[in-house]
């Protein structure tokens, strides 16, 4: 769906994207992670034709981006981090405007508006001024506008910034629902739990380079890590904490997982014996870090140390 090969983008002398190569498959929810200034926004801008690049190849829908921008844009949508609509217009006036500006046929536009309204649960507030919506409702309107051209690819730039957990969950569910209708989502966020929750695949970008890419599961199963993750049957936390008190290398993650610092065989044997003694049944042991967040911090801090 999106293929990027050796992409170089310079701002004067500063390299923003350093011969970056990346492939995003159709129908996936793809997370783009990286610290501030890593090159995420530049990459999203290039993919939306807002920024020109210096070298490399970018194809979207198997079409070279630089020669087919207009056609590609018709099948994509960018949902910016800012609330890019008119606060003094009502919800339906905003939808009509952003639909009308794209020269979409009237009957198709009506169908698309209905879909956008339904998907984002905006039906009860169509005639309400956008300025009077809550933070979460505004975010949903921001997303709804992106659905008006029925895009095959949606680019989300931190769409849940500054909203309450309930609204965030609603938005994440909406985004996950796009997978059912075979839309591809490119998602950038600083909230790792969000990425873990919705993304099929993740790329970690740092200093203009992809430093790790793959499914979340494969990323968290990392043989070179110094920790082991014990996946256990659900156990009361009190029992798990008792084990941890007896063995300092063990840490409770939640009621169905523990982390062991160190992977030497005698440490593992000791931990297994302790868990057995406390009737904690182990399902699986895997290498790796506990969360995407710790992996992210690990990788990006290495990058900084290298610099």
């Amino acid at each position: 769906m999106i293929k990027i090969t050796n992409l170089l983008k310079r701002y004067d002398e500063k390299v923003a994207l350093d011969y970056l190569t990346l492939e995003i498959k159709a129908g996936t929810i793809f997370g783009l992670l990286g610290p501030n200034g890593a090159g995420k926004t530049t990459l999203i801008s290039i993919l939306n034709g807002l920024t020109k690049y210096n070298e490399g190849e970018v194809t979207v829908f198997d079409l070279p981006l630089d020669k087919n921008l207009t056609e590609i844009r018709k099948r994509c949508a960018l949902i910016p981090q800012t609330l890019a609509f008119y606060e003094n217009l009502t919800v339906i006036e905003n939808l009509n405007f952003f639909g009308g500006i794209q020269n979409i046929q009237a009957d198709t536009l009506k169908k698309n508006i209905d879909y956008a309204v339904e998907t984002n649960r905006l039906g009860s507030m169509l005639h309400q001024k956008a300025a009077t919506l809550s933070g979460g409702q505004k975010r949903r309107l921001n997303i709804a506008i992106g659905l008006l051209n029925d895009p095959d690819i949606l680019f989300f730039d931190e769409p849940t910034v500054g909203i309450d957990p309930e609204s965030r969950n609603e938005i994440l569910e909406t985004i996950m629902s796009f997978k059912k209708v075979n839309k591809t989502v490119v998602y950038t966020s600083h909230y790792m739990p969000e990425i873990e929750k919705i993304c099929d695949e993740v790329a970690i970008i740092n200093a203009g380079k992809i430093i790790k890419q793959g499914s979340i599961e494969s990323m968290l199963t990392n043989e070179s890590a110094d920790q082991l993750i014990f996946e256990i049957y659900e156990t009361p936390l009190a029992a798990l904490q008792e084990c941890c008190l007896k063995m300092s290398a063990l840490t409770v993650i939640d009621d169905s997982s523990l982390m062991l610092e160190g992977k030497e065989s005698n440490t593992v044997s000791e931990a297994l014996a302790l868990l057995e003694a406390h009737s904690v049944a182990v399902k699986n042991i895997r290498y790796g870090t506990t969360t995407l967040e710790s992996l992210f911090i690990n990788l990006t801090s290495k990058g900084r140390a290298d610099v």
Binding site: P80, Y86, N88, L89, N96, G100, N149
Partner: protein, 396 residues
């Protein structure tokens, strides 16, 4: 695409109370106030001089002079006592003292040592003093002519024959006939016709504020970026601003004309009449609109915040108005200021409107102003496009 842009801009402006006030209420109120305030400046029947007379001669000649002054519509007489104070204290601009022996002026045999004594208030300007002196001189001249006429008639009567010399008259209507260029014989320029063009021009340029406010918000909220990703090009984006605001400007023009025609007369001032060609009026207002919109977009892309746009836009508007003859009519400006006024597009627009409203102009009479305004608008838009592209590239 344009339809969506048009609807959006109309909705946004119609919901912005401040914009509506700046675009419609403010110029309408200005037209009303200025038409009423300047009403008397263009009224020949209105007394411009407040004076009093102290007659110490009490002669036929002094009575004759007083009656001539009273008959003058430019002058309004006040009564004061013999021991009068300064003109200001008496509530007049001039005090005319007719001295004892005034009548001797009219006798060839007696020595003439009885000139009128004129007391002048200290804040009287030269033009006002000159006007008063002219009125006094013409009145004294009339008294003298009356004396000559009377003497001639008496001499003829004594000889028992009818006077062969024609009686000398001093009647303004018989001496001169006033005709304003391009107006019919009995027409005069009115304060409404002077005020409406000025405040239409000023009001049209107030699109700077709503337009730049909306544009800057669009830029800051990344709405413009979103529109770019929706294949909205720069010409379409600018076109989507130009067309709706041009329509808003035309609406302003006709609302202001309606105020001049129907509201101003309700308050006692003369109604506006469109003397010239309607096509010339439309051409000037469209060209002026393009130049106002071009300048508005240029300001909108140049500044970085709504506060800056409001302040800078307001200042530029007022400066262009002051330079261009909107605030102070160009005919009272010194020569170098009249020349300098030509740098302001408001001056070109004002001249165009005055051609239509005051000078009965046709499309060919306003062509110079129309072309100038269109060029100003187009050049502003080209510079704005350059700045916009530069800023977009810099941000990207």
């Amino acid at each position: 695409m344009f339809k969506a842009m048009l609807i959006k801009e109309f909705l946004l402006v119609s919901r912005d109370k401040h914009a509506l006030a700046a675009l419609f209420v403010m110029p309408a109120v200005f037209i009303l106030i200025m038409s009423l305030a300047l009403k008397d400046v263009f009224n020949e029947d209105k007394a411009l001089i407040e004076y009093a007379v102290v007659d110490r001669d009490n002669s036929l000649e002094s009575y004759s002079l007083i009656s001539k002054l009273r008959a003058n519509k430019l002058m309004n007489e006040h009564n004061i006592s013999e021991d009068f104070g300064k003109p200001k204290e008496e509530g007049v601009q001039f005090i005319v003292v007719i001295p004892e022996g005034f009548k001797s002026q009219f006798s060839q045999n007696e020595a003439n040592n009885s000139a009128l004594q004129i007391e002048v208030a200290s804040d009287i300007g030269q033009s006002h003093l000159m006007l008063f002196k002219t009125q006094i001189l013409s009145s004294v001249m009339q008294v003298r002519l009356d004396a000559i006429n009377l003497a001639t008639e008496m001499q003829s009567g004594m000889r028992g024959e009818k006077s062969a010399i024609k009686k000398i008259e001093f009647d303004e209507a018989g001496i001169m006939n006033i005709h304003y260029a391009a107006l019919s014989e009995d027409e005069k320029p009115t304060s409404t016709q002077q005020s409406v063009p000025s405040w239409i021009v000023f009001g049209l340029f107030f699109v700077i504020i709503p337009m730049s406010t909306i544009f800057i918000n669009e830029r800051k909220q990344n709405t413009l970026m979103r529109l770019s990703t929706m294949n909205v090009s720069l010409p379409v984006l600018f076109g989507g601003k130009i067309i709706p605001y041009m329509l808003i400007n035309q609406l302003q023009v006709w609302v202001m004309i309606a105020v001049g025609m129907f509201v101003v007369p309700l308050f006692g001032a003369a109604p506006l009449t469109i003397g010239g060609d309607i096509s010339a009026l439309i051409a000037v207002s469209l060209a002026l609109s393009l130049s106002a919109i071009g300048l508005s977009i240029l300001i909108a892309v140049t500044v970085d915040s709504v506060e800056q746009a409001t302040t800078i836009g307001g200042i530029i508007n007022i400066l262009l108005g002051a330079i261009g003859g909107v605030m102070v009519p160009k005919f009272v400006m010194p020569d170098f200021m009249k020349e300098f006024a030509n740098v302001s597009p408001m001056s070109w627009g004002l001249e165009g409107f005055l051609d239509v409203f005051l000078r009965r102009g046709t499309i060919s009479d306003v062509m110079y102003e129309v072309v100038g305004l269109i060029l100003f608008g187009v050049v502003s838009l080209i510079i704005a496009a350059g700045i916009f592209n530069y800023k977009i590239r810099r941000v990207a």
